[in-house]
């Protein structure tokens, strides 16, 4: 097959992908350009962090990360909130709309009157919805690779790539949850809502996991936000078990989405 649905999906969203990509590049560049200033006033900033409780600092900076080092600065600025949040919003929005949107707009009859299998439609829609996340990851990587060194921000680009892929996979996982719920119910709002709520819950669990020692083991196992490595990821890298889980989750969710969609009555 020629992936016609996927190509249509990407063609439909190329402007949105470009806009999100440019936004991510601009924000990343802004942080990079701030680095020399931050680094020069380093002692003062380190002093602020030193006043924070250790557990709290570890929760946001990553354990034992030097904020003023390139890995610490970039890791904190990009991976604690900015990139995961951008990608999650994007993944959940596109995920919830990709398949269920056709049903909500009433165009599903037109699509499925053609001789394509439902599982093909679901798969191409899913890939089309999540692929832009990896394009965005590439944009961020390029910004760091191209502008970083000139501002004294030299990081291991291989580790950076893996960290960005991990975050894209994290967003793809929640995006696929939105996709699955929306596809199985025909409601984009429900899909987006469930995925967003679970993402917030998992984020909070991860934060509490590093603050409350009795929660740590549970949170580290369950929360995908721990799997991606957090703010310290550029120093520590992504742990492989977590990476495996991040790869497996969207695939399993796609399988379930296909199964549920195959069985459904589609709304007129």
């Amino acid at each position: 097959m020629h992936a016609d649905v996927l190509r249509r999906e990407l063609a439909d969203h190329q402007r949105a992908i470009a806009a999100w990509g440019i936004g991510a590049v601009l924000l990343t560049s802004l942080y990079i350009l701030f680095y020399p200033t931050v680094h020069d006033s380093g002692a003062g900033i380190q002093a602020i962090f030193d006043t924070m409780p250790r557990a709290f600092r570890d929760a946001f900076l990553g354990t034992g990360v030097d904020f003023l080092s390139p890995n610490g600065y970039l890791g904190t600025e990009l991976f604690s909130i900015l990139v995961p949040a951008l990608m999650l919003v994007m993944g959940i929005l596109t995920g919830s709309r990709a398949l269920a949107g056709e049903e909500q707009n009433g165009t599903i009859d037109l699509l499925l009157a053609t001789p394509i299998r439902r599982r093909r439609l679901v798969t191409e829609k899913a890939v089309g919805a999540q692929l832009p996340l990896f394009v965005m990851a590439a944009f961020v990587w390029l910004a760091v690779a191209l502008i970083g060194p000139s501002q004294g921000l030299s990081v291991n680009l291989g580790v950076l790539a893996i960290a960005l892929i991990a975050v894209a996979l994290l967003a793809a996982g929640f995006g696929m949850l939105a996709f699955l719920v929306a596809g199985a119910t025909g409601s984009t709002a429900l899909g987006g809502g469930v995925a967003a709520a679970l993402a917030v819950l998992m984020y909070v669990l991860n934060v509490f996991g590093s603050l409350v020692s009795s929660l740590t083991g549970f949170a580290n196992t369950v929360s995908p936000f721990h799997w991606v490595g957090g703010a310290g990821v550029l120093a520590t890298g992504v742990a492989w078990p977590g990476m495996m889980a991040l790869v497996v989750c969207p695939i399993v969710l796609l399988g379930v989405a296909i199964m549920l969609y195959e069985r459904r009555d589609l709304a007129a």
Partner: protein, 319 residues
């Protein structure tokens, strides 16, 4: 049907002789939506090569039947086959050989007519660009416009083109002419007849009795998810009734119409006589012509009225 330019010639399209078997069969087809039964053990046979009208008022189950045939929804019980293929197990093959126009047609607002047809054509593995161009010309459809900016009628034209563009063996049309002007209705009727003449089977749902009487070979009447009857169109025309108002230039005794065949419910107001006429209008017109007629107005009795007649003639327990 892979090459865009290599569309098979029309004469080669029908892979079966006309009228020898049933192109669409529903057997005890039942569809429940929660406690509501939308289709109730529907048995229906549409012969290959005919134009079959599927009549029913809104909510009778017309669209439910059609969406079962296309596997968009799944029957709660019973089966449906299209050209011998099971609507569920062989759904892809059914859809490959079927053209479908949805009743509530929606298009992608950001795509132009041409992009829409191109997309659907690629999903079908390619259709003849020449055929699309020919259909667009006949439908007077501007394919360069974005669908979101089109009028209802324009969108419907795009819908008609996508249903016909691959010259399918079966056409399933849900209220195809509802939003078209009379001229375009005529064009669609021509397309439907041409499709039948090349051997295709056409299943047309409608709530418009005159349209079905005009277009179809046979018609089934659906009510509350059950097939009430299947009629030849000649019979259907006899079922059709007109309310005829004749304004005379002089006082006329309405009793002159009492002996005219098919006339019932005669009333008079001033110089205007109103009659309900079943079947042929000719004897009424001839009877009226003996006087000076100023104006003549006719209206179709609606489908529900015809249905009521059907139910009146049925025993109460069959309702």
């Amino acid at each position: 049907m892979t090459a865009v330019s290599g569309f098979p010639p029309r004469a080669a399209s029908p892979s079966f002789p006309m009228g020898e078997f049933n192109a669409i069969i529903c057997a005890a087809l039942t569809k429940d939506y929660g406690p509501k039964r939308a289709l109730d053990h529907l048995d229906l046979e549409v012969r290959a090569g005919e134009i079959f009208g599927y009549l029913g008022s809104n909510g009778a189950g017309k669209t439910t039947t059609i969406r079962c045939l296309l596997d968009l929804i799944r029957p709660s019980d019973g089966t449906a086959t299209v050209i011998g293929l099971d609507s569920r197990a062989d759904s892809v093959a059914v859809r490959r050989r079927t053209g479908y126009l949805a009743g509530d047609l929606r298009l992608w607002p950001h795509l132009t007519g041409r992009q829409t047809l191109g997309y659907l054509a690629t999903l079908r593995g390619g259709v003849s660009a020449q055929r699309v161009a020919e259909l667009a010309e006949r439908m007077e459809c501007d394919l360069t416009q974005r669908c979101g900016a089109m009028s209802h009628g324009q969108r419907q034209k795009v819908g008609v083109i996508q249903a016909f563009m691959h010259d399918p063996e079966v056409l399933i049309l849900d209220e195809p002419t509802a939003t078209l002007d009379p001229l375009m209705q005529h064009t669609v009727h021509d397309l439907v007849r041409e499709a039948r003449d090349r051997g295709a089977t056409i299943f047309v749902s409608s709530h418009d009795l005159p349209e079905v009487a005009h277009l179809c070979d046979r018609a089934g009447i659906l009510r509350l998810g059950k097939l009430v009857t299947v009629l030849d169109v000649g019979e259907l025309a006899r079922q059709g009734r007109h309310v005829l108002s004749i304004q005379f230039l002089e006082p006329v005794d309405p009793r002159i119409f009492e002996s005219v065949p098919g006339v019932s419910e005669i009333s008079r107001a001033n110089h205007t006589v109103t009659l309900t006429v079943s079947g042929d209008l000719d004897p009424v017109v001839k009877a009226a012509a003996r006087y000076r007629v100023r104006d003549l107005h006719t209206a179709e009795v609606d489908l529900d009225e015809v249905f009521r007649d059907y139910y009146r003639s049925e025993p109460a327990d069959a309702r």
